[in-house]
Amino acid sequence: MKNIYYLCVFFLVIKNDCLYAVESEWSHSFNAISDFRIVNDLYETNPLVTEDAISNKNSNTESSTSRLNLESWNDKTNVSTQIRFKYENNQVDNVNSETEIDEFFGEYEFTDELFIFAGRRNIVLGQSYGINPIDVFSDYSLLDRSLNSSRKRIEYPGQDMLGFENLYDEGSTISGYIAPKISFSNNERDQALLSKSMFLSEFNSDFSILGFIDERSGLGFSFTKPQEKASLFYADVSLREGRDRALIRADTSSSVEGDFLTIEGDQKKLYLESNVGFSYAFHTGGTFNIEYYFNQNGYTNPEWLQIKGLILTNSNNVANGVDIDQSESNLNSLNSYLTYEVLRREYVFMRYFSSFIFDEDSNFETTVFHSLEDGSGSLSVRLEKSLISDLLIGLYLNSNYGNSYDEFKLRANQFQGVAYATYHF
């Protein structure tokens, strides 16, 4: 009820101006992207991932996705909509189609500087390319990594929210929103965010500070500073209350070797997640990024050794025919616990992007996400070429590397290849 009250207040405040808006002239813009994709995923069993765990995974998928963006505006009001339609033909479900409304919100210019908005919106903060610690409400499992960097974080469902943004002449902005969990929204929990972004002209830097309410509330900071003419230094940092994952310990009281217990992490302590990056733009047209990522939530060496020991014990049990059912069940449970974007603490992300490696109409991107803990990682390559003005074809390949008990080799999906054609309307 409280949330509905907020919405009512918002609409009452703008009611008079809305009447004016209806009378004034509206403009519209419409654009769309439509693509056809052939996806090949290679799922492999490994000491952690059993046959059972990958039995319902799709290996070959043909899909067609369309994204529609519609914007209507007049002097004071702006209405934005983004809808995605996806049609998929895969080996498991055969035909599958879905529609997602990513955004549908109205924004009203209350004064020259103050904007208020309500509806479903996708808000992104921070500069990082790898993992962005201040993109605090995003769910990485919903990101389609095979999309290029200009689409990956856009084609993502927004939150239902009510918020404002106030601009100041010196270049700073204060913004905030509340995204409550209400029955008709797609919000899974109550969330709110308040941020201040500043342009520090004397230091040629951008600095943002934000506070947010979530299951794990906290603070975030973002800093960007150009160094000379070709390079940028940036950092995105968050401090969040409570550990995001359970600790996994061997159950010494059980008669089955390999059984384990889960213990909730410390929910009072603040956990640091940070990404510090540097980018360099070459004269030849390429851009190189390197980022150091640290996540205090990640498993420490002693914690990881416990987990690795449990994986080893259970997979040996299965191989040797000892407590097979229980050990397979243990492995599947462990697999379901280890679904975090990163399992350990320290990583390096590198990206090289060149917009014209072969000719003006093509671009090339390669990324590496490398664990400093065990040397495993993920390598991807993307090639895109415009055939005609608005038609783009592309190829994306991603593969994991490392030794058999390393983090990235314990994942089910070891390779992904995507060929796609994208048309911009």
């Binding site: 403009s27 813009s29 654009n31 963006n69 505006w73 702006n78 983004q82 924004e107 020259d112 500087e113 904007f115 996708n122 808000i123 992104v124 903060l125 921070g126 500069q127 200009s150 974080r153 856009i154 943004e165 601009l167 002449d169 270049g171 902005t173 913004s175 972004s197 342009f199 002209s201 040629n204 951008d206 960007t224 150009p226 160094q227 000379e228 003419k229 070709a230 390079s231 940028l232 940036y234 980018s279 360099y280 733009a281 070459f282 004269h283 030849t284 047209g285 851009t287 917009s355 014209f356 000719d359 003006e360 109409d361 415009s386 003005s389 608005d390 783009l392 911009h424 309307f425």
Partner: protein, 242 residues
């Protein structure tokens, strides 16, 4: 005593001469800037054409000389992409991306054309005159050669040799690399037309020596004196531009 006085006199005269030459040469640079940009607040359109037929069109808004807003208008897939330049700071906004992100002035737009080449319409904000020479061109015409050196860390080039013709109209420029030795690009200022009370170049032909001497032609058109609201030059506002 007399000898000391003579040395002081000679030093003072030399210093005054040096100072007046520098002031004079900086006046020349200001004249060049006034030819390239018709005021502090104005707008114009740009067409970039690469030798392979690749084309980009952009609309540019300039405020207080040091702030520029470059909006891609063609091709359709790049339409709405916006680059904001405030002093030495640059941001790019890609439609739908929900946020403007920082880029560096050396970030490329097409071929060897950097974002700074497009967004920066004056030299005097980033460069100072180190030397001035009177020279004869290949066609035996009298020209001035200005050596510009960067005065801010964010300047796109370490050094520029700027060749001026009649009434200090820019004819040609050589852009040098970080060590000041290697020529990265050569630019020719062409197509002089009477625009807003002055003869101004409408074509900039750039030869990119880092990309097999690729030629990119930049055509400037539709110059207008306009005052753009201050909020347009804030990175948070870019997502609202129509």
């Amino acid at each position: 005593m007399i000898k000391t006085l003579n040395i002081i006199k000679a030093t003072s005269i030399f210093s005054l001469l040096l100072l007046s030459t520098l002031l004079f040469s900086n006046d020349i640079l200001n004249e060049v800037d006034e030819i390239r940009s018709p005021g502090s607040d104005f707008s114009f359109n740009i067409n970039l054409l690469a030798s392979d037929g690749n084309m980009l069109e952009m609309a540019v808004l300039v405020k207080d000389k040091s702030k520029s807003l470059v909006r891609y208008t063609k091709p359709e897939r790049s339409s709405g992409r916006t680059i904001l330049f405030v002093g030495r700071n640059m941001w790019i906004y890609i439609p739908g991306s929900r946020r403007a992100i920082r880029i560096s002035p050396q970030q490329q737009i097409m071929g060897g054309i950097s974002s700074a080449d497009i967004a920066r319409t004056v030299y005097s904000l980033d460069y100072s005159v180190e030397g001035i020479e009177n020279i004869l061109s290949e066609k035996k015409l009298n020209m001035k050669k200005l050596t510009l050196v960067r005065k801010t860390k964010g300047a796109a080039y370490e050094k520029i040799h700027l060749f001026l013709g009649d009434e200090n109209r820019p004819i040609k420029a050589l852009f040098f690399s970080s060590n000041g030795q290697r020529i990265l690009k050569t630019a020719y200022f062409e197509g002089y037309e009477n625009i807003i009370g002055k003869l101004r170049p409408t074509i900039l032909k750039i030869i990119d020596h880092m990309n097999d001497d690729e030629v990119i032609k930049i055509t400037y058109s539709d110059f207008k004196m306009v005052t753009t609201p201050e909020k347009y030059f804030q990175s948070s506002y870019l997502k609202r531009l129509k």
